[in-house]
Each structure stands twice: as structure tokens, then as C-alpha cells.
Symmetry: C2
Subunit: 255 residues, 2 copies
């Protein structure tokens, strides 16, 4: 069983050069949260084997799952599968089953067999599993999930995997303050020190919102959130607190 | 003179936990492109000293400039300045000048001296320079630019730095195709091999756009773009090409 955490590696020349804005990162962040998985890092790197491989290697050490976005097509700049193979220390291997799938899709779309170049997409790290929809499977190898960059396909293929991700839901409490961060930094630091079992965030606002700071208390253990929230309300100046919200934990929305 | 390239490190608990969508990455990608700087990586990491320090260290090896976003406020979860000091192997040092500035801002806003906790923001890596607006300076140390995460302030402080970034503009040509990637992968790979001095991208579309693939040819040398574009048009099947666009290079928009 893998740790309920993930990192995202965006294979991202077009994002870095401002040709497109990445939609997969924000979407995945929300999706993983609802599934009860902690997203620990997003790395956007260039379409280069060694940079992608380095990112995958590093994120495997950080998180239970590594999800890659993009670089799985048939052209010369699609090098993600090769990079993942390198990161995992596995050879690239032609999957006959994937080759059949690619050929079938090509036949359906163009009425002719897939050209050899299209079969490049069938070269995957040895031992890669195909999960979900047999006609459009999600590729997973050693906890690395290789997804296409086109948002529609990224989402479809991620959702095929979601039932396998055994998340643990997060509990959250929010405290809205009418004073600035400088005013509450000391008591806040005290609570953070005394409650290392929660993530305590402080987000200042400088606009016309009704509050000046939003504090967040978050953990997988609801009791830990309760205790840290109570401690926080004890040490904060009473007139500083505008309101407290305790949203219901998101239901893991397994696809 | 630094290499005209940059990496962005987003100090990002609130992005990773889907509380906010990062706006600074997409904005900076466009801004750097227009300034003629290559954005080589974006790393979004948790608000932890060791993870931020590791990201800064790695990105310093990759790019001429490293820009950090967020984690520079007065609360316990603001650890970017400490992490940058660690990455640079410099001690944290209290800047009397920054302390004076913070105090002046606090006096203006609240009519009283800044509390000690606010002065936490004056603890910067030894040798940090203050650039631009004396009342709201941009902090730079060894090519690491430490910007606040609030988008309005991130942009203001980045733009103070922009005149120092000596970029070299990029030239771009786009070729829109009416056939799929499988059809052109082989000639495309051939041109990519023969023209390593350009970045050759291939972006498929699966929607109602008039084209199925957009090819991009990009380099700082306009002649290299011309040569690769000509080679591309020679090897692509004539009926595959829908149109060619050659946008004027973006003027470096120095603030």
C-alpha cells in the first residue's frame, strides 16, 4: 500500500514558454484533496529526458505516487515514457497490447493501420500496467502514473486510477480575523509549536474582503484539528476573531 | 552578467492543498518570455525550510535567476528567507534598513511602532540587496529574487527588477496542420535532428479548432528559425499545411 501522497511532474515546454496555461495542476490539486491524498510538490520541467527523469526520481522519494502530465504522444518531443523508464532503472519495452490498441484507434479514426511512428507510444517502461478502460488504458509503473497533457484526456485517465488511490480525508477549520498578521504572529507561532500534528496556515488579505487574515488548521485527524482550534481561540485576542468555519470534510469522490 | 534564464520556486502549501490557484507562475512565464528570458522550471513545494532550500539550490544550478514566490511575511509559516539563506550558505542577518522600512509602513497603517514579530521580515540572507522603490524594495541575493506571494505585490516587485534582466528576445514561427501528429512525426523528427539550434514543438488538438496540430519553431536567432521553418515546409506534405504564422518578436517590455 502506497503512502496517500502524490507529486505532479508537468512536462512543460509549452507552459514554461507561456504558450498555454497549465490546467492539470490546479485540477489535480483539488481532485487529490477530495480523495484524501496530499499533493506534496508540482514540478514543471522542460521536454528533456534527463530533466524529466531527475524530477521523477526526486518526487518518487517524496511521495507515494508520481503523476506525469504530457509528453506521451508520437512526436520527437514526446520523451516522458523514456524518461520514466530511466528514472525507474527499467528498459523501454514495446507493449504488443498497447500497439494493438493504438492500431485499433488509428483504424477507427483514419481507416488505415497506424504508421510506425504512432507505435512509438507503445514503447513503455518494462512492467507497465494498463488500468481501467481497455481501449484507452491508464499507464502505471512502480507508482508512476503517465498521463497525457491534453486536459480532457488527463482527467479521464486520472479518474480511471482514482479508485485505487486509498486516501485519508483531511479535516479543516478556518478562522477569519479582522486584524493583520503582525498582531497575531506570536500566539500563532506558539500554537504551531504546541500542535505539530496539524498544518497551520496564515493567509493575509490586502483587498476589500471582510477579513484581513484567514487562518487554516488542517489534519487527517479530526481530534487534532479540534484541539488546535480550541488552543487557537484561547490565545487569540477575542475581538480579533471575526468568525470560525468548520467545513465538513470532503467526501472521497472515488470515480 | 547572468544567463538570461530563470526558474520559479512557488512556496506553496495553499496551492498544493487547492486553497488557491497559483497566478504568479502563468503571469511570470509570459512576462519573462517578453523580456527574452527563458523560464526553465517551476517548482511548487511545501512551506518547509529544507524543501524550499533544496528547490532553490537545484534551480540555481539550472538558471541564471531564481525567483521565489511567497513565504516572506511575519508568521511561523513564512520561512522562505531562512530557506534561501540556507541554500546560499549565508547566515540570516537583521537588516536595520529593512527594519526601519517595516516600522515606517506599520506606523503609517496602524499609528504605532511595528511589533517585534513584524520585524521577522527584516531577517534576510547576509548581503541581500534592496532594489527599486526605497519604501517597498525588491530583495535580491546572489541572483535569488525573493518576492511576496500576493499577486499584486509579486508583480509590482518583479517589475522593479525587470530593468536589470538583460534578456535576448525569442523568435517564433507557427505552422498549423490539418493532419494528425502520427502523419508528420517522421519528417518532424528529421528536422529536429538537423536543426538542434531551434526548439521544435508539436501540439495536437482534439477539439473543434480548424487545425489538428500546431508546430512551433523557436530560437533567439531569427536566422535559425528561418532555416528550420524552410526545412520543415520542404519535408511536410504540402496538403498538410493549413497556414504559417510568423509573429513579430515580442518587444522586451522593460518596466
Amino acid at each position: 500500500v502506497r503512502d496517500p501522497s502524490a507529486s505532479l511532474v508537468v512536462v512543460g515546454n509549452e507552459v514554461l514558454s507561456a504558450k498555454v496555461t497549465d490546467e492539470n495542476g490546479p485540477w489535480l490539486a483539488g481532485r487529490l484533496r477530495r480523495l484524501g491524498l496530499e499533493l506534496r510538490a508540482i514540478q514543471t520541467v522542460r521536454d528533456r529526458v534527463e530533466e524529466i527523469a531527475e524530477a521523477v526520481r526526486r518526487e518518487r522519494a517524496r511521495s507515494g505516487w508520481v503523476i506525469t502530465s504530457g509528453g506521451v504522444g508520437p512526436t520527437h518531443d514526446d520523451v516522458t515514457l523514456e524518461a520514466v523508464a530511466e528514472a525507474l532503472g527499467r528498459p523501454l519495452e514495446r507493449s504488443d497490447e498497447l500497439a494493438r490498441i493504438i492500431d485499433a484507434v488509428h483504424q477507427r479514426m483514419f481507416g488505415e493501420p497506424a504508421p510506425e511512428t504512432a507505435l512509438r507510444m507503445a514503447l513503455v517502461p518494462a512492467g507497465t500496467e494498463r488500468l481501467g478502460d481497455a481501449g484507452y488504458p491508464t499507464l502505471v509503473c512502480d507508482g508512476v502514473v503517465m498521463l497525457p497533457g491534453v486536459p480532457r484526456f488527463f482527467r479521464y485517465q486520472f479518474d480511471q486510477l482514482a479508485p485505487l488511490l486509498l486516501g485519508v480525508p483531511f479535516h479543516l477549520a478556518c478562522v477569519y480575523l479582522r486584524v493583520g498578521e503582525e498582531q497575531i504572529a506570536a500566539p500563532l507561532a506558539e500554537v504551531a509549536r504546541a500542535h505539530p500534528d496539524v498544518e497551520l496556515g496564515s493567509y493575509p488579505r490586502f483587498d476589500e474582503a471582510d477579513h484581513r487574515v484567514k487562518l487554516t488548521v488542517e489534519a487527517r485527524d479530526a481530534g487534532a484539528v479540534d484541539r488546535a482550534l480550541a488552543a487557537l481561540l484561547r490565545v487569540l485576542p477575542e475581538q480579533a476573531v471575526l468568525r470560525v468555519e468548520r467545513p465538513a470534510p470532503a467526501e472521497p469522490d472515488r470515480a
